[in-house]
């Protein structure tokens, strides 16, 4: 069950022979083909790929939003194929944290309440969760923005709230889908630094889909998805203003 934590001897993420397809009325679209991926505890992996290459599907499978159709996917020692609907919900609650390009904050809630929501769903008592949410927002530099609604925050601040929420339940794996995609350069750098610090300070394992070279520059392994196939790449260029390139390793 999702409560199982990975030990240092086994990888946090182990994907073996994962294939995924979408069946339409008159066609079948194979988005992932025999994907293999190993991420050790505390690894920071960046992932690139053109639109429709299967990046989001891989994140959705690893994040328990979709069930693996074939192959084996294990995160923190949990075989995702074996989980029921509630089991997957519990897995998403405790084992993974999501950071979305669109931030994914609930507009009706304040910053601190958005962070608290993840703790509430995880059954944390009300007295503890307010304290913890406040602490987390302080860690991402938003101690003065606790009671602000998302529309009262800048894009970078919203993403920092989302990051605080993602780590609220101390997950094994953080999945970020273009976390700087909607941010200006400065905010993107702040978010990139913040995500990087999660590995350093909290020992999180990160898989970040990004086309931002600064963000990717923080990763120690780079992967690219092309036509559903995953391959490790070496980063060629990465300057602080967005010009970058990759080559196959």
């Amino acid at each position: 069950m999702p409560s199982r934590r990975v030990t240092m001897s086994e990888p946090t993420v182990l994907v073996e022979g994962l294939s995924h397809r979408y069946v339409r009325r008159d066609s079948t679209l194979e988005v992932l083909r025999d994907v293999h991926l190993v991420m050790e505890h505390g690894a920071y992996v960046s992932l690139v790929g053109s639109s429709g290459s299967g990046k989001s599907t891989l994140l959705a499978v690893l994040g328990g939003l979709e069930r693996p159709q074939s192959g084996r996917v294990t995160v923190a020692g949990i075989d995702l194929a074996s989980l029921s609907g509630d089991g997957l919900a519990l897995y998403r609650r405790k084992t993974v944290g999501f950071v979305f390009q669109h931030f994914g904050l609930l507009e009706a809630l304040t910053a601190v309440e958005n962070v608290e929501l993840a703790l509430t769903l995880n059954g944390v008592s009300s007295s503890v969760r307010r304290h913890r949410a406040t602490e987390l927002l302080g860690d991402v530099g938003l101690a003065a923005r606790l009671s602000h609604r998302p529309h009262e925050l800048s894009g970078g601040e919203r993403q920092r709230v989302a990051i605080a929420r993602a780590v609220a339940n101390d997950p094994d794996l953080i999945l970020a889908d273009e976390p700087t995609g909607n941010l200006d350069v400065e905010a993107a750098e702040t978010v990139a630094d913040l995500l990087s610090s999660l590995r350093r300070d909290r020992g999180c394992t990160l898989l970040v889909v990004t086309h931002n070279p600064v963000m990717a520059g923080h990763a120690d392994t780079h992967y690219a998805l092309c036509d559903g196939r995953l391959a490790e790449v070496a980063m060629q260029v990465a300057d602080s203003r967005g010009r970058s390139g990759h080559e196959l390793a």
Partner: protein, 431 residues
């Protein structure tokens, strides 16, 4: 969180809640009016007494009219204390209230009475014969007696009396000024024949009129506690006519027997007949009228429920729109660990809040409408010299309306909530 979501779209929330409120107001007002109307109609039939009341006459039963609501009594028969005791022991009998009655000479008040055709003053010359009824008025809720104005005499009082509207008529007062007579005095003289040449002896009592009643407990226009009347009865019984006659003298003119429920009235009446007395009860009329009233109540309630159902459709529509708009948020909630039922619960709570607040506001409006209509009806009835309608609301009506509105709203929210809970988390996140 539901409250926050509602506040995010105040216009939509307000309109949806207003629809629920109006429907609940209509439902509350209709049910309250139907309930009050029912009470009033049955009250009119029972003259304010209990539905399961039985009037026992000081007469033997008439075998040829057995089973009728209002049979012609047989021969006169004294109602004795032992007979009353036997009635008390009948199954399903909850109360037995004896009624005494005395003939009196009435001398109305000498106090000026506005509106009297007697030139504003009654006098001894306006004396007349009448009866005073004695009954335990502390059991007034069981008696066919309704208070029109003022109050009942104090418990056990021998100085206070209530009068009927016929007394006012006798004084030339209209029924619209019933309060004029309250607080005035009346002299009642119990009489007895003192000698064979019909010389009359009178025993006078000056009584303070404290209320005006509508009563069917006995034949007379004065109502008091039995102690006062029994003294008059004993005075009269001491006269020569009564002393010389062989006719059975009954200490009571009748007895009021109350059954525990309407369906037991027939059985209790059979028991009374077996003891040897004639009885009457409007049970058949009440049963028939109750059926008609029940149909009217159902129709009015149905109209209110149809309105509530329409409001519920509004809730369903508003929540379906919310599900479409909050697709991504639903996906995010699932991504951070919400189960399908957590999402469903969030929408059901939102629907319940709309229903609950709409129900509370609507019930308050409904009560205001009900009281307004009641006041209007009462002012009309009293202007016509009729007894007003009691504007009382049974507590189960507002409670039922609020709970009903909340439950109907939750049911209406079930479909959108289910749709939200079944959204694919991934599709919702990427929406």
């Amino acid at each position: 969180m539901a409250g926050r979501e509602l506040r995010r779209r105040p216009g939509r929330a307000f309109l949806t809640m207003a629809a629920v409120a109006l429907a609940t107001a209509l439902l509350t007002a209709l049910v309250a009016i139907a309930s009050t109307g029912r009470t009033r109609v049955l009250d009119q039939i029972t003259h304010g007494g209990a539905l399961a009341n039985i009037s026992v006459a000081a007469a033997a039963p008439n075998p040829s009219e057995e089973g009728l609501d209002n049979p012609t009594p047989g021969r006169s028969k004294s109602l004795t204390a032992s007979a009353i005791q036997a009635m008390r022991h009948l199954p399903h009998v909850t109360a037995v209230i004896p009624i005494v009655q005395a003939g009196v000479i009435v001398v109305p008040s000498a106090k000026p009475l506005a509106g009297s055709h007697l030139g504003g003053r009654a006098s001894v010359s306006s004396s007349y014969g009448d009866n005073i009824i004695g009954v335990n008025l502390s059991r007034s809720s069981s008696l066919p007696i309704s208070l029109v104005a003022g109050k009942y005499p104090a418990v056990g009082s021998t100085t206070e009396v209530d009068v009927t509207s016929d007394y006012l008529t006798r004084l030339g007062l209209g029924t619209a000024v019933v309060h004029e007579v309250i607080g005035t005095d009346v002299e009642l003289g119990a009489y007895k024949v003192l000698s064979p040449d019909f010389r009359i002896g009178l025993r006078w009592s000056t009584l303070r009129i404290v209320g005006v009643v509508d009563q069917q407990a006995g034949s007379g226009n004065f109502l008091a506690y039995p102690g006062l009347v029994t003294a008059d009865v004993q005075w009269t019984a001491g006269g020569r006519i009564h002393g010389d006659t062989d006719a059975p003298r009954s200490p009571y003119v009748g007895v009021l027997v109350e059954a525990d429920q309407l369906s037991h009235v027939d059985g209790v009446r059979s028991g009374i007949a077996a003891i040897g007395y004639s009885s009457s009860a409007p049970e058949d009329v009440i049963v028939s009228v109750e059926k008609y009233l029940h149909v009217i109540e159902l129709i009015l309630t149905a109209i209110g429920l149809v309105a509530l159902a329409i409001a519920a459709l509004g809730i369903a529509n508003a929540l379906l729109a919310a599900v479409r708009e909050r697709r991504r948020e639903i996906g995010v909630m699932k991504a951070i660990g919400a189960r399908d039922r957590d999402v469903m619960r969030a929408f059901l709570v939102e629907a319940g809040c709309l229903g609950l607040f709409g129900g509370i506001v609507g019930t308050a409006i409904g009560i205001v409408i009900f009281v307004g209509i009641g006041d209007f009806a009462n002012s009309y009835l009293t202007s016509q010299g009729l007894r007003g309608v009691p504007i009382t609301l049974a507590s189960d009506i507002p409670v039922g309306a609020i709970v009903g509105a909340a439950v109907v709203s939750v049911l209406a929210g079930a479909f959108p909530a289910r749709r939200a809970s079944r959204l694919s988390a991934r599709e919702a996140v990427e929406a």
